[in-house]
């Protein structure tokens, strides 16, 4: 106990800095760089200090109010600024931080530059570590859930995440608000431990501290922020013990460490730990079913279906199956002077495999982006499953029952193969985080079921044996298949495949064709964009040809193949 008493200050500070580090971690795992943590801490610190000094409220109440102050501020700030691109978000949050500091400096009630004192010292080691443990527990429970994976996906590739149905706007706001709450917690603890607060303590340097702790600790594992805060809080203490007093050495070392980490060990201390095998990657659930021998060729008509036509709890109330899944009327898309699509009219009917072909630059991907909500059209109307999608973000279009793959494979490379697939199932799964926070077994079961369902889809495309591998480690052909599996997990009514056979040789393309056929056989309508005309002709029930943004042919594959316009578009003048 003597040890604890001597180093009490450092030990408590490690915990407080740890909480601040977790607040930074919260936004980093959503792929946002926010430097407003110190400002949130400041607001909470002042609010709580004033309440204690002036109103004499008991500490637990003050904590709750402080945390709420941080959270609410973050929420209000986040609403307008989370739309901004990375660099601009960072600048906006920096600006906000300075603003808070200036306000604190100038208001009488906050004591101006002199700050507030004395604040009764209430925080003990146990309270500080309880707070730290709460934060750690929060993130520990988060990772394997639908929300946690969604955030990780958002960080890896925001556009792809949205196309899988993740409400990226809400998720980012959630992460931001959580960071505000935790920063607030660190602020309350800080003010009630150091007994004195001044605006200068919550300025740019503190914001950078938070960044330091989180980056050095690493975002690979939820223990990261604690490691980072611990190491960096302990370092100056160690210096002091060694008799190194130089004031410049501490920032110098901090800067050097941060630089070293970002250049050479970007995953931080926790990433190192994982590499050394010290921490295992959290798995959502090991699949209960034994891994089937991976068969690259799916056999249509076998017992296991690729798409589970069986029971879907959250199918958005579409009982009547419209015959026309997608209707485009007079669609136009202009990109500042370039007309990518001109008067495109097209129907996609239930049950068909529609091929979309056309020379390079014909507008195929633009059309597909219009259908899936990634790109708004500048004219005409697009109706998907009976709903006009004008103004709808991609995740809402996905919610209608549309799944897709991308021309340049957009996998979540930081996630495992299985995790990628699970995120694909976003729209048909229920939220589990809140329940898992309190260890409700039903939620864990839900997550396990989602994982099992993902495994079944992976088995169909022959990737089950690599379910735990990072997606980045897959060979190219496998990456394409994973993308398809991911889209299938969402149980789409319409599956859009954007050049899935690119780069494949004949054999691979043929297998892909068989897979597409199997998928369609189970009731999924498929829109297939491809350059591999041979593949399209063999698999599709109908073919549409685009050239210069216009439909030049639409019909039976054989007819289209003989269509003179089509031949001209592809080969130049007819080869007579």
């Amino acid at each position: 106990m003597g040890f604890l008493r001597t180093y009490n200050a450092v030990i408590v500070l490690i915990a407080i800095n740890g909480v601040l580090a977790y607040s930074m971690y919260a936004v980093l795992i959503a792929g946002q760089l926010s430097l407003a943590q110190a400002a949130f801490a400041s607001i909470a610190a002042y609010t709580s200090a004033l309440l204690t000094i002036e109103a004499g409220l008991p500490f637990p109440v003050v904590v709750v109010i402080g945390v709420s102050a941080g959270a609410v501020t973050a929420l209000v700030l986040g609403l307008p600024i989370l739309r901004l691109r990375g660099v601009f978000l960072a600048i906006a949050t920096l600006g906000f931080g300075e603003m808070v500091r200036i306000v604190a400096l100038n208001l009488e009630v906050t004591g101006g530059a002199q700050g507030l004192r004395p604040i009764p010292k209430v925080v003990t080691i146990w309270q500080a570590y309880l707070a730290l443990a709460l934060c750690a527990w929060f993130f520990w429970r988060l990772r394997p859930t639908r929300l946690g994976l969604g955030l990780a996906a958002l960080r890896a590739d925001e556009v792809a995440a949205r196309a899988m149905g993740v409400d990226t706007v809400r998720y980012k706001l959630f992460a931001f608000t959580v960071s505000g709450a935790m920063a607030g917690l660190s602020g309350v603890l800080f003010s009630h431990f150091t007994r004195f607060i001044a605006p200068g303590q919550f300025g740019f340097e503190r914001a950078v501290d938070a960044l330091l702790y989180a980056v050095v600790g690493g975002t690979a594992h939820w223990v990261g922020p604690f490691l980072g805060a611990g190491f960096l809080t302990f370092l100056p203490e160690l210096q002091r013990q060694l008799g190194i007093e130089a004031g410049w050495l501490r920032p110098f070392l901090n800067g050097l460490i941060l630089l070293g980490v970002i250049l050479f060990v970007p995953a931080g201390l926790s990433g190192l730990g994982r590499r050394l095998g010290l921490a295992r990657r959290p798995r959502p659930a090991a699949s209960a079913a034994p891994a089937r021998a991976a068969t690259p060729t799916p056999t249509p008509g076998s017992v296991e279906s690729v798409t589970e036509a069986v029971t879907q709890p959250t199918d958005p109330g579409v009982d009547r199956r419209p015959d026309t899944l997608v209707r485009l009327v007079g669609v136009e898309k202009d990109y500042g002077g370039v007309r990518a699509l001109a008067e495109v009219g097209l129907d996609i009917r239930a049950g068909e495999i529609l091929g979309l072909i056309g020379p390079n630059g014909a507008g195929k991907t633009t059309l597909v982006n219009a259908i899936t909500g990634l790109t708004p059209v500048t004219g005409g109307s697009v109706e998907v499953l009976g709903t006009p999608i004008r103004g709808l973000p991609a995740n809402r279009v996905n919610a209608l029952g549309v799944g897709r793959t991308f021309q340049q494979v957009k996998l979540f490379d930081d996630l495992t193969v299985r995790e990628n697939a699970i995120v694909g199932g976003h729209r048909v799964t229920r939220p589990t985080f809140l329940r898992r926070l309190v260890f409700l077994p039903a939620a864990a079961r839900d997550d396990r079921d989602n994982a099992a369902r993902a495994d079944r889809v992976l088995a169909r495309v022959g990737l089950l044996d690599r379910a735990d591998a990072p997606a980045s480690s897959l060979a190219y052909g496998d990456r394409r298949r994973l993308e398809i599996a991911r889209a299938l997990c969402g149980q789409p009514r319409l599956l859009v495949l954007d050049e899935p056979a690119a780069g494949m040789n004949h054999v691979e393309a043929q297998r892909l064709g068989a897979l597409v056929g199997a998928i369609a056989a189970e009731g999924v309508t498929v829109l297939l964009i491809e350059h591999n005309v041979r593949l399209v002709m063999s698999v599709c029930t109908r073919v549409v040809v685009l050239d210069f943004g216009r439909v030049i042919a639409d019909g039976d594959p054989d007819e289209v193949a003989r269509h003179p316009e089509v031949l001209r578009a592809y080969l130049g003048q007819a080869a007579t």
Partner: protein
């Protein structure tokens, strides 16, 4: 064994790009003064091949030789200075800069010849002379293609690489572009033309290579390839009959 050294030679090129093995063991030769075309369906790896020749991507294996000299390790800037110039796919004119500025950039390694080069180019492409002070972004597709070619000419290329110059252009404009290409070739510049429009390309070229999923599957004098149905198959699949009923 050819008696003379090809001006441009690619030997056993392997390029991995975006996770794909885009080019697998490709070899080709372009003799001095000839127009060679590399055709194939989209996704066959043609653009990646040109990117490797120009130094934009580093090959995993293989060599690129310019007039017998191994330039595989050279940076792009050096290759351009040596006369290996590419007109990229999609033209890639600098839209925010004027036509004249675009052209001046073409002469980056040929400062001494900038004035005379501009004169020549304006004579050849009067349309560009008319619009020299306008922003390149305001030009039509065909005009931009002319600009891109003119820009490359200002670099005084020994070997001119063209990546799908006909893309996105109406047939009449494609005619004009090919006329220009043929003129350039007639003046003695060696040309390697990558095209999706097989017919046009083979009609203009001396020699052709057909590419499919990263490999050369067919090569020979252009006239022979024109008549070869296997070429059609490479694009459109077996059993495909292009002849009208």
């Amino acid at each position: 064994m050819t008696a003379e050294t090809p001006l441009l030679e690619v030997d056993g090129l392997h390029v991995a790009y975006g996770g794909i093995e885009a080019v697998r063991g490709l070899s080709l030769r372009v003799l001095r003064g000839s127009l060679v075309t590399l055709i194939g369906a989209n996704g066959a790896g043609k653009s990646t091949t040109l990117a490797a020749i120009s130094g934009l991507v580093r090959p995993r294996a293989g060599r690129v030789l310019l007039d017998g000299e191994d330039v595989t390790r050279w940076r792009s800037t050096r290759r351009v200075a040596a006369g290996l110039v590419q007109v990229p796919e999609g033209r890639e004119v600098l839209a925010t800069m004027t036509v004249e500025e675009n052209l001046s950039l073409g002469a980056w390694h040929q400062r001494a010849h900038l004035a005379s080069g501009l004169e020549e180019v304006f004579a050849r492409f009067p349309v560009l002379a008319e619009r020299r002070r306008l922003s390149a972004g305001s030009l039509s597709g065909g005009e931009q293609q002319m600009l891109a070619i003119a820009r490359a000419l200002l670099a005084r290329p020994r070997v001119l690489l063209l990546d799908e110059p006909s893309m996105g252009l109406a047939p009449l404009l494609v005619d004009e572009v090919f006329k220009v290409i043929e003129t350039i070739r007639a003046e003695g510049t060696t040309v390697l033309l990558v095209e999706q429009n097989a017919h046009r390309a083979l009609s203009a070229a001396d020699h052709g290579y057909v590419m499919e999923t990263g490999e050369i599957v067919l090569e020979g004098p252009a006239a022979e390839l024109l008549a070869n149905t296997r070429v059609i198959e490479a694009y459109l699949g077996e059993g495909f009959d292009p002849r009208p009923e």
